[in-house]
């Protein structure tokens, strides 16, 4: 299909593929530090794709959101996360509730599912970047899966942010970006959420002296 597509569309498709790849990598990743790096990489891809779309369509506010992505998701959040794990000196590897291969299999199924879910829609997309919606959906799903499978707080949060990335990708590449107000709001929320989470980590840690969320299973119906 790439044959008679304009260049930037091919680029975007390429980036989309990369995004998907990164999501899979995160799903498979055991080490927490590299998880953060992968997240940063995802941010980079996101930034790149946004810029390309902006250039392609001349939607100027997309530059702003690209900048926002760069600042927030490539610099700020990874930095915060790094500081966090340093401050909380969490060195351990990520334990998963389901073993990695199974997770991968499920992830694969999910990707297929979300692709043919998005197929009819992207068929009637007004934008040139058709298949990206499916990719975005897949990314969201994979992030979701990751949140389910991880048993520690930090990876869960990273999964949460990865999900945010997927959404953002959908917003930019599939719809040429939401209105600026909304994007600002979203970005703000993500930031605040991050900060609150930071606070939380310390609280949780000093209460349970661990970030293993299996400790957080006291409230239940016995």
């Amino acid at each position: 299909m790439n044959g008679h597509l304009p260049l930037y569309a091919q680029v975007i498709n390429l980036l989309a593929a990369m995004l998907l790849l990164l999501s899979f990598a995160m799903l498979a990743q055991r080490r927490i530090l590299s998880l953060i790096n992968l997240f940063m990489a995802q941010g980079m891809v996101l930034f790149a794709s946004t810029v390309v779309v902006a250039a392609a369509t001349g939607q100027h506010h997309l530059y702003w959101s690209a900048l926002l992505t760069l600042v927030l998701k490539v610099m700020l959040l990874p930095w915060i996360l790094h500081r966090l794990i340093r401050r909380l000196n969490v060195k351990w590897d990520v334990e998963t509730l389901i073993n990695i291969p199974t997770t991968m299999m499920i992830g694969l199924v999910l990707v297929i599912f979300s692709f043919n879910l998005a197929l009819p829609i992207s068929a009637l997309a007004g934008t040139i970047t058709r298949s990206t919606l499916g990719v975005a959906l897949a990314a969201v799903m994979l992030a979701f899966l990751m949140m389910i499978t991880r048993s520690k707080a930090v990876p869960q949060v990273i999964g949460f942010l990865a999900m945010e990335n997927g959404l953002f990708f959908a917003a930019t590449s599939a719809t040429y970006g939401m209105p600026m107000v909304v994007e600002l709001g979203i970005a703000l929320d993500v930031l605040v959420g991050m900060v609150i989470l930071g606070v939380f980590f310390f609280q949780i840690r000093e209460q349970f002296d661990s970030l293993d969320i299996r400790h957080l299973e006291q409230l239940k119906e016995d």
């Binding site: 997309a125 707080a153 719809t175 909304v182 609280q203 949780i204 409230l219 119906e221």
Partner: protein, 482 residues
């Protein structure tokens, strides 16, 4: 400009209290801001009564029959809650459960919370709606974890993660909405304005809209507390400070449901099937039944009423799902009376728990001896929420059930069983709490029961007489919801 005040006062209050929240008189300041908000909301309501629906700030703000009474309700309950929280939080402080720093956080977040809710209610922009919902989540997360006990942290954490994920789904739904809208309305911020979408909902792409609605339903439904997305709700209600529980189930759930309803209107317009209705009915019934069965196992009184909130949200969702003038009317009425009654119950429960020094149902006995007003407040509140006439809850349940018998007869046996079980559970737990011989000793401080009886009085009134313009709003909103 009333509207600016409606949003401005709580925002200002939040900022001011962020600075002054630890003062001795902070609670009074809090109440004062809430009162101002209430007055502003009242002015706004009057304006709407006079001039009808309002579109403000190049259509970013939209006030129509569907949200005006919710705005008023939110401001009102916010105010009464602040009244209630004044002595309550003071006592908590005296018992040393809260430092004054926490009190500051509490007060300022309380105001921010009502700000976000009011914004969510009044905005015309689906994006802003999402943003403010997310903001509401963040503020309440801080409120829920106020005590910093392990339990409260756990509750807050679950609340944060589950609602965050849910809200993320909602965002995806919003994006899809935009995706569908921009082909009709062209890009730009106009494409997310609900009024515009509503105008062209007939032409929106059905497949996209159905997808979008699913995401929105799951997303906002998580905050509504629909089973099986409800798991955060009982924990958050049980572990947060009581005033927060009161506003959570009294207001936040309403706001989330309001968002769902807005989306349903669009989906209904675009899809030519009854899909959204069916989905909502399904979720509603499931929530009612599951919550009803949960009720009978509760040992913690606030948890108990948390589940009862799930049940009632289920009823309302079911009503909106059924649609039609009567059912939607009933749903709106039920939203109103439920938030009034439930917050009143939480006030009473808060005092009861403070008097007995425990939230465990088994430790609360013979309130009617311990403190007659609290006892009667709890008993009447419980009976009202159980749909005993002449409370307004009964009025709406009457309409919903009879309509269901007509429209969806298959659902009525389920509802019958669920309501029976819920009655047995709640009443069986409340009766020994109120009646019988007290176990705890009297505490000196006298409770602030005024808000409780104001709420119950209003609920009683709504059961016997609904003010004409309110009824008119309900009707128009019902027409809108379809």
């Amino acid at each position: 400009m009333e509207f600016l005040l409606v949003l401005g006062f709580p925002l200002a209050g939040g900022l001011v209290l962020a600075a002054t929240g630890h003062w001795k008189r902070a609670a009074e300041i809090n109440s004062a801001f809430s009162l101002l908000t209430l007055l502003a909301a009242a002015l706004l309501t009057l304006r709407v009564i006079e001039h009808g629906p309002q579109l403000l700030f190049d259509e970013e703000i939209f006030i129509d029959p569907l949200n005006v009474f919710l705005v008023a309700l939110t401001a009102f309950v916010g105010f009464t809650t602040s009244l209630f929280s004044r002595p309550y939080m003071r006592i908590e402080h005296d018992h040393g459960r809260l430092s004054s720093r926490r009190l500051r956080l509490y007060h300022s977040m309380f105001q921010m919370f009502s700000f976000t809710m009011l914004l969510a209610l009044t905005t015309n922009n689906m994006g802003i709606l999402w943003v403010s919902m997310e903001a509401a989540t963040l503020t309440t997360v801080l409120l829920v974890s106020l005590y910093r006990t392990p339990a409260s942290l756990e509750a807050a954490w679950k609340y944060f993660i589950l609602c965050g994920v849910g809200i993320a789904q909602a965002l995806f739904g919003t994006i899809l909405l935009y995706f569908a809208a921009e082909k009709v309305l062209g890009g730009g911020s106009g494409a997310l304005l609900w009024t515009h979408l509503d105008a062209v909902k007939g032409q929106l792409e059905p497949t996209v809209l159905s997808l979008a609605f699913v995401f929105l339903l799951v997303g906002y439904g998580t905050k509504v507390g629909l089973v099986p997305l409800h798991n955060w709700l009982p924990d958050a209600h049980a572990e947060g400070p009581t005033p927060v529980s009161a506003v959570l189930s009294g207001l936040l759930l309403n706001v989330a449901l309001y968002a769902v309803v807005r989306c349903k209107v669009l989906a209904d317009g675009a899809l030519h099937s009854n899909l959204p209705g069916m989905l909502m009915m399904g979720f509603g019934l499931l929530s009612v039944v599951v919550a009803a069965f949960f009720l009978s196992r509760q040992k913690d009184v606030k948890r108990l009423f948390g589940y009862s909130s799930i049940e009632h949200m289920g009823i309302i969702t079911f009503a909106f799902g059924m649609g039609g003038p009567v059912a939607s009317f009933a749903g709106l009425l039920h939203m109103t009376v439920h938030s009034l009654t439930k917050s009143a119950i939480f006030f009473a429960v808060g005092h009861a728990a403070q008097k007995c020094g425990s939230q465990a149902i088994d430790d609360i006995r013979g309130l009617i001896k311990l403190s007659p007003t609290v006892g009667w407040g709890l008993m009447l509140g419980a009976l009202a929420i159980l749909g005993m006439p002449p409370s307004g809850v009964f009025a709406s349940e009457f309409l919903i059930l009879t309509t269901a018998m007509k429209e969806q007869p298959w659902a009525t046996p389920i509802l019958l069983i669920a309501l029976g079980v819920a009655f047995a559970a709640i009443f069986g737990k409340v009766q020994p709490m109120v009646f019988g011989e007290p176990t705890a000793k009297r505490l000196p401080h006298k409770p602030a029961m005024l808000p409780v009886f104001i709420h119950l009085g209003l609920v009683l009134m709504l059961g016997l007489w609904i003010p004409p313009y309110l009824a008119e709003w309900y009707r128009q909103a019902a027409k809108l919801i379809g």
